[in-house]
């Protein structure tokens, strides 16, 4: 176990380091000049030169990278060119919203996806199964931003039940939760469609196995067979997909936050890349990568908890 943890941690650090170098290189190859973006196309050359000097844009790329990595080791991720505040402040003020959105999104995805998948499997070949498969096929095909717009039109503009977007802050928890209902729904509907299909086929596969027949022959109720015997044995592929979907939900927030104008990290990524805000992009990409790597790690742990036969994987 310790060897496993150590190997995982080293792998994690190597991944992050490689990603940071790639982001730095890519951002430097991309055409653009933050000094023109900030001061506008009608600015004078000497004002732009003064700003470039102030931002340290004239240093060679390797020197800027070394500066950055030395700062990052000590917890200083640099200062945003555009907002002129430390990148860590920028991220911390937006992190709670994106984390809540991602957590709600994942929770709703898992609940809805597994529930629908199990219902479909239990009604295999009947109308319920067909209906769920048809709807989930639609869910996979529909882009999240389009679905978001439809939800807004119905629930915010027509019915006026929920706000069309924006985030009032956690000071008012009720209003905050209300404003997250539509974004969470939009995130979860699309992702749960995939999960429902995987759950269904995984459950169907287990249903054909001998022990299920035995359980049925012993007179257990259908619900008990499903809950006690089928689902636990069908979980490994489901957990794999859930792990991948966490990444999907986190990146999905980029689109959702733009459509619902939520002040989260997704919108910040979008803006920073367009603005060539190097250090902000750098920190955000590293953060997103860390979330994905951590999720993969948790998925590996979950495998062992579900199926003790897989313990060998950890050593």
């Amino acid at each position: 176990m310790q060897v496993f943890l150590l190997r995982r941690t080293l792998g994690f650090l190597a991944t992050i380091l490689a990603i940071s170098v790639i982001v730095f290189l890519v951002m430097n190859v991309l055409p653009g000049d933050p000094s023109v973006t900030i001061l506008g196309i009608d600015s004078t050359e000497d004002a732009r030169a003064a700003l470039r000097a102030q931002l340290g844009l004239d240093d060679p790329i390797w020197l800027r990278y070394l500066h950055w990595i030395w700062g990052a080791v000590r917890g200083d991720f640099g200062t945003s060119y555009f907002f002129r505040v430390p990148v860590s402040d920028l991220i911390l003020e937006r992190l709670p919203l994106t984390l809540s959105l991602a957590a709600f999104g994942t929770l709703a995805t898992v609940t809805l996806g597994i529930l629908l998948g199990v219902i479909a499997a239990a009604n295999h070949g009947r109308a319920g199964d067909w209906l769920i498969m048809l709807v989930s096929q639609l869910g996979i095909a529909v882009p999240a931003f389009w679905l978001s717009m439809l939800l807004v039109l119905l629930f915010a503009v027509k019915l006026r039940w929920l706000p069309p977007g924006g985030f009032p802050g956690w000071d008012d928890p009720v209003a905050a939760l209300r404003s997250l209902i539509l974004p969470t729904t939009a995130l979860a509907l699309v992702q749960s469609a995939v999960l429902a299909r995987v759950t269904r086929s995984s459950a169907l596969e287990v249903m054909r196995l001998d022990f299920v027949r035995t359980a049925r022959a012993s007179g257990m109720t259908r619900g008990r067979i499903l809950g006690r015997h089928i689902l636990p044995n069908a979980l490994v592929p489901i957990v794999t997909i859930v792990g991948m979907q966490v990444a999907g939900v986190v990146t999905g927030t980029i689109v959702i936050e733009n459509v619902f104008y939520l002040p989260g990290l997704g919108r910040l990524v979008f803006q920073s890349i367009a603005n060539r805000d190097l250090f902000t992009v750098q920190a955000l990409v590293v953060l997103f990568a860390a979330i994905v790597v951590t999720t993969n790690f948790l998925v590996d742990i979950a495998y062992v908890l579900i199926d003790p036969r897989l313990k060998g994987r950890l050593s």
Partner: protein, 493 residues
């Protein structure tokens, strides 16, 4: 069953209506597409910074009214010496900054010296370029000496980049703006909203009707529409999508105001290299395009065509749209003469809806005249590098939003136009030093005609200002002669 459903729905709707927060009296919620990066217009050109803060939080020596005329502001009056080189400003009494410090001539000197300094990062440094020195005569009098006459001086120092800031607070203005204006900064959540509150210590506080102003940042046009329709916003003065205006016009809850901005949209031609260093090729483009078709297709008819580089609402405007009537045969003839017939040119388009939509129509129109246009939609960073800095393009579409920007054509061959003309340079020198407005307007007319005759670019249309307001919101400018919008005169019922 149906009865039951209807009852439940009605009950839900009523409770939802009750649950939505009631409008606080005197609070105005304004939607804006672009969010500010910092809150200091003297260090960043992002248009929304001036748009929200100039002449609301910050003030300047002068201001500009809706017609574009200069009005007194922190300077209540001024005298200009006979040679036009010395300006003496008398300052208002009783103005104070939002942090409680008083305003006097030292603050003016500080603000100007800061903007003129060697290491200044002021985005519009050319405003200060003519200034020789700023001297404090007494606490309420400032004298400025100019190196040369500048006809636009009083207009220029009204802009956000010339805001008067205090030495005590200037360094923190990027996140916590402090000015002397009618509204004080009250809060900012990046990516979400910026809040201003009426400043009780404002010298003319009784004339301000709003208690609170909330700017909400919504970049997506569909989201902006939904927010207005759901009555989450009271005003969207710079509405981004002309194609979505009709539903507001048909809805009695809203009024739609279409005005003008200072933004001339041009099909810019690279005068610095073939094929458009040739006058015939440039004139060919002007004949080939059909402005009405472009405005219809790209702006849903909501824009005014221009024939040169000057806004139609300006005092010196001369209508030159008839100089090159749409004439494909004539265009073909000129393209043949210049050897461009059957050739290919590149149109690099920045990511703005007015540009990307116009580009497709321009492409079709030039194809009819025998020239193949390769449209490349590029990202803003790429445009800045390749088009603006390296002049690596044949054609592009861009709006120039600064006032009095005829000066662009006197910026020399290194500016991205690649254009240089001694005749125009002389004309511009005369314009910028002519103090008499009537004479200056005459010269500006000559300049417009000169640019049209030389078909430096193909001039398309004036960027409109599309405003959507809830019924009961009054006082917004229909047109924008400057980037800012004073809210002191705005009211809501």
């Amino acid at each position: 069953m149906t009865m039951f459903r209807t009852t439940v729905l009605t009950a839900l709707l009523t409770s939802a209506a009750l649950a939505s927060p009631a409008l606080a009296a005197g609070t105005l919620r304004i939607g804006t597409q672009q969010e500010p990066t910092v809150l200091d217009p003297t260090s960043d050109a992002t248009a929304s910074i001036s748009g929200m803060l100039a002449h609301n939080v910050y003030e300047a020596l002068t201001t500009v009214d809706e017609s574009g005329a200069v009005q007194p502001n922190l300077a209540k009056s001024w005298t200009i010496s006979d040679d036009g080189l010395t300006y003496t400003f008398s300052l208002v009494e009783g103005a104070q900054f939002h942090d409680g410090t008083g305003f006097d001539a030292e603050d003016v000197k500080f603000s100007f010296d800061r903007a003129m300094a060697e290491d200044s990062v002021n985005p519009t440094k050319k405003i200060f370029e003519p200034i020789e020195s700023v001297t404090v005569i007494d606490p309420l009098t400032v004298e400025m000496k100019l190196k040369r006459k500048d006809a636009f001086f009083l207009f220029n120092i009204a802009q956000g980049a010339a805001s008067i800031v205090a030495p005590e607070s200037a360094a923190d203005d990027v996140t916590h703006p402090v000015g002397t204006g009618p509204f004080a900064f009250a809060g900012w959540t990046r990516g979400d909203r910026l809040t201003l509150e009426k400043f009780a210590g404002y010298r003319d506080a009784d004339s301000v009707s709003l208690d609170k102003v909330e700017f909400r940042f919504i970049s997506d046009p569909a989201a902006a529409t939904a927010a207005l329709m759901a009555e989450e916003l009271d005003a969207f003065p710079g509405f981004p999508a002309p194609e979505l205006l009709e539903q507001f016009e048909m809805d009695p809850r809203f009024k739609v105001v279409v005005g003008s901005t200072e933004g001339e949209v041009i099909l810019a031609l690279n005068n610095g290299k073939p094929p458009f260093n040739d006058l015939n090729a440039r004139r060919g483009v002007s004949y080939a395009i059909d402005r009405n078709e472009i405005i219809e297709g790209a702006m849903y008819g909501r824009a005014v065509p221009i024939g040169s580089f000057y806004p139609p609402h300006g005092p010196a405007y001369v209508d030159l749209t008839g100089m090159y009537p749409h004439d494909t045969a004539k265009a073909k003839e000129l393209f043949t003469e210049s050897g461009l017939e059957g050739g290919e040119v590149t149109l690099r388009v920045p990511p703005f809806p007015y540009a990307t939509r116009s580009a497709e129509i321009v492409q079709a129109e030039l194809a009819r005249a025998g020239v193949t246009v390769k449209v490349e939609n590029v990202e803003w960073g790429f445009w800045i590098d390749e088009v603006y800095k390296k002049q690596n393009y044949d054609m592009t579409i861009i709006a120039h939003t600064s006032p009095n920007d005829l000066s662009n054509f006197a910026r020399g061959p290194k500016y991205f136009y690649g254009y240089q003309s001694d005749a125009f340079d002389n004309l511009w020198d005369e314009i910028k030093t002519e103090a008499d407005p009537a004479k200056r307007h005459e010269l500006e007319k000559q300049a417009q005609t000169y640019l049209a005759e030389n078909a430096v670019h193909a001039f398309l249309f004036q960027l409109p200002k599309l405003g959507v307001y809830r019924d009961g919101v009054d006082g917004f400018w229909a047109s924008s002669p400057v980037l800012f919008q004073p809210l002191a005169g705005v009211s809501i019922q």
